[in-house]
Symmetry: C2
Subunit: 477 residues, 2 copies
Amino acid sequence: MLEELQEVLSRDIELDPDRLLLVGVSGGPDSLCLLDALDRLGYRVIAAHYNHQLRLEAGQEAIALGEFCSNREIPFTSGLGDVPAMAKEQNQSIEEAAREGRYRFLFEEAASREAQAVAVGHTADDQVETVLMHFLRGAGLAGLSGMPVRALPNAWSDQIPLVRPLLHVWREQIEAYCRGRGLDPIYDASNLDTTYYRNRLRHELIPYLESFNPAIRRILWRTADVLRGELSIVTLSVEAAWEECLLAEGREYVALSKRALLGSHRAMQRHMLRRAIERLRPGLRDIDFAAIERTLDRLSDPKPQARIDLSAGLALHFESDRLWVANWGAELPRGDWPTCFADPKALEIPGEMALPEGWTLAIHEELDLQRALVEAKENTDPFQAWLSLDEVAGSLSVRTRRAGDRFKPLGMEGHSVKLAEFMINQKIPLRARESWPLVCADEEIVWVPGVRLAHPFRITAQTQRVIQLRLFKINRS
Amino acid sequence: MLEELQEVLSRDIELDPDRLLLVGVSGGPDSLCLLDALDRLGYRVIAAHYNHQLRLEAGQEAIALGEFCSNREIPFTSGLGDVPAMAKEQNQSIEEAAREGRYRFLFEEAASREAQAVAVGHTADDQVETVLMHFLRGAGLAGLSGMPVRALPNAWSDQIPLVRPLLHVWREQIEAYCRGRGLDPIYDASNLDTTYYRNRLRHELIPYLESFNPAIRRILWRTADVLRGELSIVTLSVEAAWEECLLAEGREYVALSKRALLGSHRAMQRHMLRRAIERLRPGLRDIDFAAIERTLDRLSDPKPQARIDLSAGLALHFESDRLWVANWGAELPRGDWPTCFADPKALEIPGEMALPEGWTLAIHEELDLQRALVEAKENTDPFQAWLSLDEVAGSLSVRTRRAGDRFKPLGMEGHSVKLAEFMINQKIPLRARESWPLVCADEEIVWVPGVRLAHPFRITAQTQRVIQLRLFKINRS
């Protein structure tokens, strides 16, 4: 066993024998075996024990463990937690609170002593039980691939790895090792109560499954190992897709590209959405599966419902090419949209009008009519237009939209449409529509900058007076 | 149920109601429900029944089914197979032979009638049982993701999809449907015997697992669905990696790039190797896991064992950057290596010597010594060299290597090495070494084309006579 362990330590875990390694020790056979084996292999270990104060004899056991280490000249440190109080405070089960208190202690100790890693005694049997537990509770690929032999980052640190050198060693081997080495582990009598579910799994379910396949334990261990490999492939793909999808990220929001999402498989879309949620709610356990599926169903909908409520205080907003995942009521950053004062302001010819946020509307008369015709025809900048002044009776002005506005888009032969609907069809984001500048002749909309000229104001070979309009932002053009 | 089914049919399966659809019908509740529902939804169906001749009453049942279809004006076709004889012939279990005979019949019928797909009646319960079965037997991601709702290519066709429209419908729903529609399914009494394992799973294991999690069936169905999504991500990644890795492929061999493999995750390496094996042994079920792991362990070994035996009549060969997976004794294609006659042949100056396979060795004297010095210094083509004739006492010749050959590589200050070891270090493939041309002055090796000049024959500012040597192949340079 020692030889195999040495190989795992140096090849898979990449531990340095000369740097300090903190070993979490409960006193049970697994952790005692781990401590003893690492010490014999010449690793610089420190034993760390956490007293959960769940049993009367726990204090006694901590002292015995300290003595064991002292006899072996292994440094020893211990911590104390009032788990029942912690559980009550955090509204957790005793088991959860014990686990969290213990790992927090181990990683704090490791950090303060600059240990290279925290090692714990999980065995191959623990791995199998973990996989089974996830299988029964419903899990994705990550759950079914069990525990990794080396985890960094982990839930407690992004600097110090959590390592499990015994993950390939079976409990029988460990008990034989303890007997052979004369080690005297503590068998926690309360184990059967605190982790009832896991114990039923161990003592009932696994033996039962062995009647279907006697090799079930080895099979499930292998399954975890193979799936962990597949997980690493998926993770790499997800990383690459995230780079493609992410448009913006803040403390209260994540914006994903709808176009990039639509170019991916459904499974990848699911990952992107889950990841966006995880960014905003890092600890969240139960992401609402149905809400994610509903959202994905709507991705290809050209006019999706603007907002979908997710659980956990999050909402989804569709906005032209953006899919926002954000806190309810979060202020989302504005796009680089043109914006305008609500009240109409008269435009002079020639002239420049300063609009909010650095936007400028410039007008001048184009005297070379031939040139204007050519330029208007060849124009590709939607924020630039040539229009016939012949059709303008009163004066030109700029304003934002009003209820009931209609518009005759160029190319629709004078047909009039509702401006509100036209803006939606043109994928102007909801928040942008409100303050979008509209150039008007009296009440009639002449030009929706960035979108379309009005049909009656187009220039033709018969036009006598032509003006050129240009909307621009200093840091834009 | 009909509405949901309609959605699955048009959205997930993409069936065309106006094109013929062949429905495999056993007469049991699942397939009868499927046939009835598709017919009601207006699909152009034909019922296809296969009589396995495993039970006395089977002939009777086929006739009853034909009558049912005739009453409903559904076209009906049936096939007959002597399954026990097939099983014996193919050395298969009765269940396997029945399955193979049935599907072959369905796909042959579908092909001859130009049906758009073969539909079968697998239910959500079948899906759960399949996942459990794979879990117990040991399976990778593909096994744990169960059956797809639409499979193309599948084991029987790469033209006609196999579809499972009822994969999201539970057996209870189907039985309620049958009762509601007054359908009278056949309950196959022998079912309990022929698929003992699956029945134990259905009637014992699943109810037992429900004592751990009452929602286990829905959980496992969802797990399959989620894992199928992950599988699609892995499959895309594997496709892309395969494009990177594959160097050559023939009927008897596949060559992978060692460099590309080393640049991938272990899990991806595993996929590449398994895929290479699958290309050569398409049906192979049990690929030797340990042999694959052993091979991967050796990938980064600079001098791996040249050949590793795999099971199934396959062997692995390492050859410089190539990893060959091939039939035992397969003739592997040669690389584009230079090659030579075994016996020495005298070289003339100037002159050209034709070598085998279109290679030519050209020699001429370079009279401009200054230029020779510059060109030799700047040369980047290893198949071209300038050497000092001052050091050549006798005549130049070209030959292949001999036992005991030594060589003084340029840059090693006249130090002599074993040619055999030098060639290995220079990564000349084993098969190439034997016939590699060597330019000699009497017995001494002057130049190993493509690799290195000999130190004593380098040109310096003191050199009086210089020759230029060039080895080339017509389709190469």
